[in-house]
């Protein structure tokens, strides 16, 4: 059976239950699909029938005064942005990929973007979920309030589990007030030795509280029309008065130039289709070293790029499709690195990553507890029951 041979469309949680129950009855694996943008992310799954959630969508509950929103998994981030913008609020998650990606996929993959610098990752935003586990049971975890320690934290466990423990059908997220002023500045990073470290130190010491602090290499900068050298993008937000003071502070750090408002959306959608992507991370104090190590990969191929969430110490490396040298170097680097998270790789490359997953035995037990027959996205995380 191939993924296209058998497709189920779920419009309700009951549909999901029926689909999973059917899968259980037929011992037939299920590939969970939102809008299908990220099907090339994660390890290749075994042949499975697709369970499409894009029509399991819509906002279930939104009381602006509570700063929480409950939506079905197939609701797109763009739709949530539109609904919340009317009340000067936003869901501060900006994962890389098309802007109409779904909330379900964002939570299931725990995908974070530059705003994680200030607002944290999906694990910090998700307050509660409804999901259908591998034995077709509907479970709820967490709740719709911003603080909750009732019971064991299945919300965190399912966030970032890539659908392998259950099909997430509904999610409650924490919203934030949109800053009155939201503007971005770019500072060129000189190429000389130690310049990056000096800039990072200066920004660290400056009286600023950026929403995002993203280092962009020259090639990506060019693609984003930010010039032809490495730049530091600094997103400032807050009241007029607060942003004015921060703007002044940034100007003392370097030659800050106004960046176009659309630069963040452009960055999110800048990965060429079919790219291989790996994130490397280490302590934030070593981000310059991590950046230079990544440079050794990107310098191999004309189309390779890299950018980094400086405050979090994460460098994201994008190798263009069909550039074997870059992809091979990327895979080798990922295999050697202490902490590398491959997002997308050509299917044949995953076998080169032999580093065992930490706590593999515990992970297997978790998988067995929620999807004992290994029917949900089988193999995508490399955790076999």
């Amino acid at each position: 059976m191939s993924a296209t041979a058998n497709v189920a469309h779920a419009r309700t949680t009951a549909d999901v239950v029926a689909a999973v129950a059917n899968a259980v009855a037929r011992h037939s694996p299920v590939r969970i699909v939102g809008r299908g943008h990220w099907l090339d992310a994660g390890r290749p799954t075994r042949d499975a029938s697709a369970l499409l959630l894009d029509e399991l969508s819509g906002v279930v509950a939104y009381t602006p005064g509570d700063l929480t929103l409950t939506a079905r998994a197939g609701t797109t981030l763009a739709d949530i942005a539109a609904v919340t913008a009317d009340h000067a609020q936003w869901l501060a998650l900006d994962p890389f990929g098309p802007l109409d990606g779904t909330l379900g996929a964002t939570i299931a993959t725990a995908s974070a973007g530059p705003l994680a610098h200030a607002f944290g990752t999906p694990r910090d935003a998700a307050l509660g979920i409804e999901a259908v586990t591998g034995d077709a049971a509907i479970i709820r975890a967490g709740g719709r309030v911003v603080k909750n320690v009732a019971g064991f934290d299945l919300t965190r466990l399912f966030t970032g589990a890539w659908g392998t423990l259950g099909v997430i059908t509904e999610i409650t997220v924490r919203l934030r007030a949109r800053p009155q002023v939201d503007e971005t500045w770019s500072i060129p990073v000189p190429a000389n030795n130690g310049a990056l470290e000096a800039l990072c130190a200066a920004l660290r010491a400056a009286p600023i509280a950026p929403l995002a602090l993203e280092l962009i290499d020259a090639r990506l900068a060019a693609a984003l029309s930010l010039g032809d050298h490495d730049v530091m993008l600094i997103r400032l937000g807050g009241s007029e008065e607060s942003v004015r003071a921060q703007r002044d502070a940034i100007r003392t750090v370097g030659a800050a130039a106004d960046a176009p408002a659309g630069v963040w959306d452009a960055l999110r959608t800048s990965d060429p289709p079919g790219s291989a992507v790996v994130r490397f991370s280490d302590l934030p104090s070593r981000v310059a070293d991590t950046w230079r190590a990544a440079r050794e990969i990107t310098s191999l191929a004309g189309g390779a790029r890299q950018h980094a969430s400086v405050g979090r110490g994460i460098v994201r490396v994008i190798a263009p499709p069909n550039d074997d040298a870059a992809v091979t170097a990327l895979v080798h680097a990922a295999a050697r690195a202490a902490t590398a998270i491959p997002e997308r790789l050509p299917g044949t490359c995953w076998s080169a990553l032999t580093t065992p997953m930490p706590n593999a035995e515990l992970a297997r037990r978790v998988k067995r507890a929620f999807d004992p027959a290994n029917l949900l996205n089988p193999g995508i995380l490399g955790i076999e029951p």
Partner: protein, 480 residues
Amino acid sequence: MTRDELAIALRAIVGPRGVLSRPAELLPFSADGLPTYHRPPKLAVFPSTREQVIDVIRLFAREQWPFVPRGAGTGLSAGALAGGDAVIVGLNRLTRILSLDPVNRLAVVEPGAVNVSLTRAAGAFGLYYAPDPSSQSACTIGGNVAENSGGPHCLKYGVTVNHVVAVTVLLPDGEVVSLGGAHGETPGYDLLGAFVGSEGCFGIALDVTVRLSPNPPAVRTMLADFTSIDAGARATSAIIASGILPAALEMMDGPTIRAVEASIYAAGYPADAEAVLLIELDGLEAGLDADARRVEQLCLDAGARTVRTARDERERARLWQGRKKAFGAMGRVAPALVVQDAVIPRTRLPDVLRTIHDIAQRWRIQVCNVFHAGDGNLHPNIGYDPRDSDATDRVHHAMREIMRACVDAGGTITGEHGIGLDKLEYMPLIFSPASLDAQCRLRAVFDPDRRANPDKVVPQHACREWTQAPAARAAATVPA
């Protein structure tokens, strides 16, 4: 192995001063910070080193003996009580701060390190540990991890789980695993996120790596007083809806104010007020005064009599002191105190507080509300005399009604105190049987024998695996 034989074996590991076995000496361990529950343990063991903790737990694993980890015993859900054969494992002697990295703002601490000691040690570098439960002067980091503790400043800065980056866990079977990591992202399931808040049911934290935060460059602490709870609740909703995110937004009602003002921690709250809001704004200096003026106007619009801002650090400390010691100050109101903890959507504050007031009147009890209003995290506390059985009954009826009112408003049964023993009966109010069973399955991943803090958090009858023994129990025991 009998209890006495176990005591001998434990003494061989931790020495004679590390084991308590006589009834009188076990008495102080029969309750935690919620003394309405009493369960004298069979034994209590106090390891002084990480190696001793491991040896003790491995002994329990060999003997299939249940145990209950305990930090400072300041918890408020009767979670650190050991019933049946369970032995208390006191971690309060492992108090060291193992390392402190001011550049990456990380610290590694032993589980018995006291919360405030971390902030003291980090202070030299202009850093602090953000989660600040009211018991921070006594509670331990290990206990905070177990309960996923909150505190007033968690409104802006998040609760314990947002500040823990790694934990070395001793599983109940004696295996040591590292969850999370300080050196970047961790692949696979968020086992760290699952461990934080697991109330001692998943194992023992041998060390905890926490994130430290830089001291905010500027702070404004404000006190607004109101002649009705309703007005205070409306002000809270208005501030949250305005988009300003205070570092803390705390509310105290009239009875609480008067208890505090009668204690040695009198904070200068107006004694005739029916509600005060303690509001703290922090962040960059620029723009903070403008935010403070907006907050002041919102309070006045909601009916505040006065809004004043602390002029200096001393006045700020005094205003906070009253809030932090409020719970203890109620000790002078009545000989026993039920401390409750529930969360509601913040727009529901005015009507739920009215409902609580009505419930209190109907049952003729005195409710003192002191809580994290900004989070919607209520703490209705009820003082009573436990020797009066009629009063005790009324208190328990009222409590149940209050809990149900919070759940009906879309809330939850605990925001920071945990389930422990105290909230077990409320779990079915918010979770379906399947959802409770899912929690049992997760527990079985870490502790298939259910020996770590047994009988807590999830009602045992909710676990299908226990009655039907299907998938999860098999899953937990099938070899890989």
